[in-house]
């Protein structure tokens, strides 16, 4: 063995270490790859050796190679070996390599769990540290779940070095394992006030990251951060806090005002260093709004000297712009100057700003300036950026700032002179959009477009995709569609039939072909009307001559259209030869006008009731699927567009039939089309020109309502716009879909027109819709953190139970449905939604009530301290009751209990607000009860009164007495007494119903082996515990007594006596009152927030014994029942855990299942529950 070690060491001496490797690589510049592959072979040999030092060395070299881009994932297992080395030196190498090359897909990562856990609990802080660092890079959901608890423990490590790392890594854990957020949060919050600045800063860091995703949950921390901000001197922490406030202020406007002062202070105290100040100012504007106007001025002026500050100033301005556009607009010139800056970052920032600064007045000026920059600009990226910005600026808010559309068309045409841009389709889209939507501009647009077509050779010189030639697409379409406005249609026709056209991309040629026919039709009509048959024949001849060039096109779409049209024209030629007038019929091909359709229209089509889109219409043909896809793929490669039109053509008849049918179905519905939202948005989501929402509507029946809605909407949107803006949507029938870009959308429109009606109603949905993708994203991001998201996971079980009584037939299905996103809920019927809501409330309740409302005490868990009076004492009534809600006490069972859940704290506060009300109710109820009991027990009017303590008003359940839960969460325990284990506090409310004055009260209990009254030190078992107050007549007060409990598995009954002196006018008497205290098992239970999977895990773990009961003849509503039982839910713990699950079995019976590590406890608990249920 020793020999082997020595040998290993010697081997190692001859091994290359990292430095040798680096040197070697540098010496082999020519054949680096070869040298490295040789080294990798060596490394593989080294990894096979037993000596850990050799392995570590090899792994270290691999890490270097990884940086150079070599795949080292094959060595993952060896890396784990090195990670598990006992020496820090090697361990560190292993973890470094792991952090560099492990990711979620690395399968061996699951082998590391135990190793990491071991390292985390290592006595050496650096072992722990290195494990934390490594883990932070490759933590997976599994690792996070398994190690969350260990890391949480480390958050209170004695060494700040570990604490700060543990705190920081928690963020990663939260991301991967969101359920850990709730339990860990209180501790994280504690760390905000850690004595070590590093830990503090880490905690701030984590909370800032969390709050960025979901600020609203962290509003409650604002005061704490406020304090930190005013006290901390750590710049880093300050920056983070200000950033955090930036996220919080929008949610809590008052915060902004509060922040102004400290922020200004900060700014001033940092006057020394401009940099520090800027840093603070930057995030500030958002947070303090107007308060930072002076800061803003600084920002703007600062940019001049320092580049970085200039950039930051602009960045700040863009943030201010969102809230205070006016204060920024004042600096327009400065921003325009920045456009000349040689730094691209600054120029881009300035451009961004301009977008928000334009108004109707300065639009022309700004665009002019930008146009001049376009000419000057070097580098296509920046020029493209300029181009898109110009279009964005002009088209923003539905062309809100444009007053003169002629000018805008000219700008667009001018932009076409731009070579090498990638945004030809953008310009094209704008041209189309404007020409279609602004009716009055069409004439001008057509003249410009025909000029463009005429000079197509200039534009078409670059035929790259998405290049500027895309504008020809728009030009051809506009000229064809609005050919009636053409001055010299013949000339345009010739321009469109030039041989040069065949060099254009296929989809553009296709548009050419289609629009040539439109043009041709309108020329024919003109000529026939002018009675120039010869001219008409000439045009036909021209078509016949030129079209063949398209027929030979390699592009399928072009070819098909061309050959089709060629035959048509040839037919026309024949007719013309016979002097038959054809123009009418030919132009009928293209009759009708196109309306803009909202790009989202398709999405908004509601799914008709009873239609399951996912269901198969026919049984899926097993083989043909792949065949179907093949041709599609081919088309897509060539040209995405043809694929769509092709299919409809195949069975057009059938489609037409269906369309007809659907139309009739919906004939009664009013319908409208809404105008498309601002185009720039549209183009973000859409891949290309073919999506231009211009469609010829394929309807054989003229539709009645000409889209009033559109008009209205337009009016609203473009209030201030000149009249020409208002496109008047009209629909005409047309027999065919015509221009080629229509073919694809034609399909859509069909659906849109039909479905639109139902959309008309919920206009709010319209508002939501555009945001939808973002919202969905938002949810995704938030998901890990949002509390609301978490509850569903947890409630899981309850859901099931609460559900079942209402709808017994589908409990399981429902449960599954629950999981999917909220969206789905929308689609459900209202009824169901209601139920869902109800469910949710219920689901929340179980967790909250035990902690805050004390609801459970009406349950079986009451300690029946039915105190009955014996003896002559006739004037005093002793009331042993549960104290008011918040005073609910908690008995404990030897478990260290958990930290406080932030939510619960919140609720707790709420509940205390309600307390007063509750009190009243209580009293009322109490008195009622008293009366009742008086009736019941006439012999002794001093019977112990059951006291109602109610959370549920509907069904008061008399609870007599109290006991309770744990020494746990300090927050609940207002009395703040018992923090010790194994103790139970019993609160007793003593009410003097007599007319005597009661004093010297003493309570004594006969201790049992298990339960002992905690007496003042030095007193014997027989001494009583004095009650620390006296009771005048009619007054009640609460006294607390502490009991020490040995075992919780058995219920206990204790006999006790209350002795007191009753004093009245006639003198004083010494009296006694006997009572019994019943400590039920359930009263020992502690509520523990438990997350679904932890819960599931616990249940699965197998070391819990199980038992269940079934109770028949329950008459009370399940809701109430559940509210009672819910107390028992979520009881879980590692050792003493009890998990209970109740589910309704039938109308009148309820079964309760329970799992617990201690079967005696479980059976006792269940017995008690049975007893309670039996009473229901």
């Amino acid at each position: 063995m020793a020999l082997k070690m020595v040998k290993g060491s010697i081997d190692r001496m001859f091994d290359k270490n990292l430095q040798d490797l680096v040197r070697g690589i540098r010496n082999h510049k020519e054949d680096e790859a070869k040298y490295i592959s040789q080294c990798i072979d060596e490394i593989k040999q080294e990894l096979k050796q037993d000596n850990i030092a050799v392995k570590a060395n090899a792994v270290c070299k691999l890490t270097y190679l990884q940086m150079l881009g070599y795949d080292i994932s094959w060595a993952a297992f060896n890396i784990i070996e090195v990670m598990s080395a006992s020496k820090f030196t090697f361990k560190r190498i292993g973890y470094l390599a792991a952090s560099q090359c492990f990711h979620e897909g690395t399968d061996v990562i699951m082998l590391t769990t135990n190793q990491i856990r071991k390292d985390l609990s290592s006595p050496s802080q650096y072992d722990t540290g290195v494990a934390l660092t490594g883990l932070s890079c490759f933590v997976t959901p599994d690792l996070a779940r398994d190690l969350a608890n260990d890391i949480m423990t480390l958050m209170s490590h004695t060494k700040p070095y570990i604490r700060k790392k543990a705190v920081l890594i928690m963020y990663k854990v939260f991301l991967k394992y969101p359920e850990s957020l709730r339990p860990a949060f209180p501790r994280l919050k504690e760390k905000l006030e850690d004595p070590d600045p590093g830990v503090q800063s880490a905690a701030v860091n984590v909370i800032c990251e969390l709050a960025r995703r979901n600020p609203k949950n962290y509003l409650s921390l604002a005061p704490l951060f406020f304090k930190l901000m005013t006290s901390s001197t750590n710049n880093w922490v300050l920056i983070k806090i200000i950033k955090l406030f930036g996220a919080l202020t929008p949610l809590e406007p008052r915060l902004g005002k509060k922040l102004i002062e400290p922020l200004t202070n900060l700014i001033h105290s940092h006057l020394g260093s401009l940099g520090a100040r800027m840093r603070l100012v930057l995030p500030a504007p958002r947070s303090s709004g107007s308060g930072c106007r002076p800061g803003l001025a600084l920002c703007v002026q600062a940019p001049k000297p320092v580049r970085a500050l200039k950039y930051l100033g602009l960045l700040a301005m863009s943030k201010i712009l969102r809230t205070h556009p006016k204060s920024v607009q004042a600096h327009k010139d400065l921003v325009l100057q920045c456009l000349d800056d040689k730094d691209e970052s600054i120029r881009l920032r300035a451009l961004d700003l301009l977008y928000g600064m334009v108004s109707k007045k300065n639009l022309v000026e700004i665009v002019k300036k930008l146009m001049s920059h376009v000419d000057k600009a070097e580098g296509t990226t920046y020029r493209d950026e300029l181009l898109t910005k110009i279009i964005d600026i002009c088209s923003q808010c539905n062309y809100q700032h444009i007053t003169n559309f002629q000018w805008y068309i000219s700008v667009l045409v001018e932009l076409t002179r731009l070579e090498g841009t990638r945004h030809g389709h953008l310009i094209a889209a704008q041209m189309l959009d404007v020409a279609i939507r602004v009716k009055a501009i069409r004439k001008f647009a057509v003249s410009q477009m025909s000029a463009l077509l005429d000079s197509a050779h200039l534009v078409a010189s670059s035929t790259q995709r998405n290049g500027i030639c895309e504008v020809l697409y728009a030009a051809a379409w506009i000229c064809g569609e609005f050919s009636e406005h053409l001055q010299e249609p013949h000339q345009t026709l010739e321009a469109m039939l030039r041989p040069k056209v065949t060099t254009l991309p296929g989809h553009i040629q296709a548009v050419y072909v289609q629009n040539v026919v439109k043009l041709y039709a309108s020329i024919l009509q003109q000529k026939e009307q002018a009675a120039e048959p010869e001219a008409a024949q000439d045009v036909t001849q021209l078509m016949v001559d030129r079209l063949p060039q398209f027929v030979q096109s390699a592009d399928l779409e072009v070819q098909e259209r061309a050959s089709c049209i060629l035959q048509l024209v040839k037919h026309i030629q024949k007719l013309q030869a016979k002097d038959v007038p054809v123009a009418e019929e030919v132009s009928a091909l293209f009759a009708g006008e196109l309306n803009p359709v909202a790009p989202k229209a398709q999405k908004k089509v509601p799914v008709p009731e009873g239609l399951d889109l996912d269901a198969w219409i026919n049984e899926p043909p097993s083989d043909s699927e792949s065949e179907d896809e093949k041709p599609k793929a081919i088309f897509h490669e060539e040209e995405p567009r043809p694929a769509k039109p092709r299919q409809p053509e195949a069975d057009e008849e059938e489609l037409a039939r269906r369309r007809e049918a659907r139309k009739q179905e919906q004939a009664n519905n009013p319908f409208y089309i809404k105008s498309s939202p601002s185009p720039q948005k549209r183009y973000q989501d859409m891949p290309g020109v073919e999506h231009i929402p211009v469609v010829q509507i394929d309807l054989s029946v003229p539709l009645k309502v000409p889209g009033k809605y559109l008009l209205e909407k337009d009016r609203k949107k473009k209030k201030k716009k000149d009249k020409e803006k208002k496109g008047k949507p009209r629909r005409h029938s047309s027999l065919h879909t015509e221009s080629d870009e229509d073919i694809a959308p034609a399909q859509q429109v069909d659906i849109v027109t039909e479905e639109m009606p139902e959309n008309a109603l919920p206009s709010d949905e319209d508002d939501k819709d555009p945001n939808d993708p973002y919202r969905a994203l938002d949810i995704d991001l938030d998901k890990p953190l949002a509390d609301s998201e978490k509850l569903p996971v947890q409630k899981h079980r309850n859901t099931d139970t609460s559900k079942s009584p209402e709808k017994e037939d589908v409990p399981i299905v429902e449960k599954k449905v629950k999981k999917p996103k909220k969206k789905e809920k929308k689609h459900r019927e209202k009824e169901r939604e209601k139920r869902e809501k109800g469910k949710e409330q219920k689901e929340v309740r179980p967790r909250l009530f035990p902690a805050t409302w004390g609801l459970p005490l009406r349950l079986p868990c009451h300690v029946c301290s039915s105190a009955w009076l014996t003896g002559p004492a006739s004037q005093a009534t002793c009331l042993l009751s549960r104290p008011s809600l918040c005073h609910s006490l908690q008995g404990t069972t030897g478990r260290k209990s958990l930290t406080v859940n932030p939510d619960l704290v919140g609720l707790f506060q709420k509940s205390s607000k309600h307390r007063k009300k509750k009190h009243k109710k209580e009293k009322e109820e109490r008195s009622k009860d008293k009366k009742k009991s008086k009736k019941k027990k006439p012999p002794s009017d001093e019977a112990a009164e059951p006291v109602e303590n109610g959370a549920l008003d509907e069904d008061p359940l008399p609870v007599r007495g109290t006991s309770l839960a744990s020494h746990g969460p300090e927050t609940y325990d207002i009395q703040g007494s018992l923090q010790k284990d194994s103790q139970v506090t019993v609160s007793v409310v003593l009410e003097n119903q007599s007319s005597s004055f009661l004093k010297s009260m003493e309570l004594n209990v006969l201790d049992s082996l298990n339960t002992k009254l905690a007496r003042p030190e030095g007193s014997s078992v027989h001494d009583g515990v004095p009650v620390p107050f006296q009771l005048p007549p009619g007054i009640s007060n609460e006294a607390q007594f502490v009991f020490t409990i040995q075992s919780i598995v058995m219920a206990q009954k204790l006999k006790g006596t209350l002795s007191f002196i009753a004093k009245n006018d006639e003198g004083s008497t010494h009296e006694k009152l006997d009572f019994k205290l019943h400590f039920s098992c359930t009263s020992y239970l502690v509520t523990t927030p438990c997350y679904s999977d932890a819960f599931a895990k616990l249940l699965e773990s197998g070391d819990l014994s199980m038992s269940s009961i079934k109770v028949d003849g329950i008459s009370m509503s399940f809701q109430n029942l559940l509210a009672k039982i819910c107390f028992h839910h979520h009881f879980s713990g590692k050792r003493w855990g009890v998990a209970l699950n109740a589910c309704a079995v039938g109308e009148k019976s309820v079964s309760v299942d329970g799992k617990c590590s201690d079967s005696t406890l479980l059976s006792n608990v269940l017995e008690e529950m049975r007893a309670t249920l039996a009473k229901c």
Binding site: S9, L18, V22, R23, A53, C60, T63, Y64, M67, G69, K87, F88, T89, L96, E104, S124, Y126, G129, V130, L132, T133, S136, C137, V139, Y161, K164, K165, L168, I169, Y171, K172, P197, G198, S201, A202, N205, V206, C208, E209, R212, N234, N235, W236, I239, K243, M278, R279, L282, P283, R307, A308, Y311, L312, L315, K342, D343, S345, I346, L348, T381
Partner: protein
């Protein structure tokens, strides 16, 4: 969050590559290099619009020291100047640990540079900004390493 930290020299040779999310690393290094390289030294240290990394929320913040570029790719939760400071802290720490750091130190001791970085940034989050604290921890770890190595050779 910091998404990536890259150090490369004037020729685009990577000297330190630290990604906090799995990415197409080599391309990003290359793209970042090209983006950064074409920028003058006297223009600002911020750069938006790398196509490979992050998206619009991310920006590159870099500093150029002699032959090395230090590039941090961060999202909007980080303060630009804060990160510039952090780069300075990192470089100064390197300087302390290597005593007059130069590119060669980074070339031959990539592992050590990583260990130093680990004390500054952990999992994409800033761990420590106090240089003395960082250096103290690194030295402590080096001592620990030495104490482990010595017996073997003794």
């Amino acid at each position: 969050m910091i998404q990536a930290i890259l150090v490369f020299n004037n020729h685009g040779k990577p000297r330190l590559v630290r990604f906090y999310q799995q990415e197409i690393q080599q391309q990003i290094v290359r793209e970042t290099f090209h983006l950064v390289l074409k920028r003058d030294d006297n223009i600002c240290n911020f750069l938006e619009g790398g196509s490979l990394i992050g998206g619009s929320d991310y920006k590159l913040i870099y500093r150029h020291y002699a032959t090395l570029y230090f590039v941090f790719c961060v999202d909007s939760s980080e303060s630009e100047l804060g990160i510039l400071d952090l780069i300075q802290v990192f470089v100064e720490t390197l300087d302390k640990c290597f005593e007059n750091v130069c590119e060669l130190d980074l070339i031959f001791h990539m592992d050590k540079v990583h260990y130093i970085l680990q004390e500054v940034v952990m999992g994409g989050m800033v761990l420590e900004t106090n240089m003395n604290e960082i250096v103290a921890q690194i030295e402590a770890q080096n001592r620990l390493e030495k104490s482990e190595v010595t017996p073997r050779w003794a």
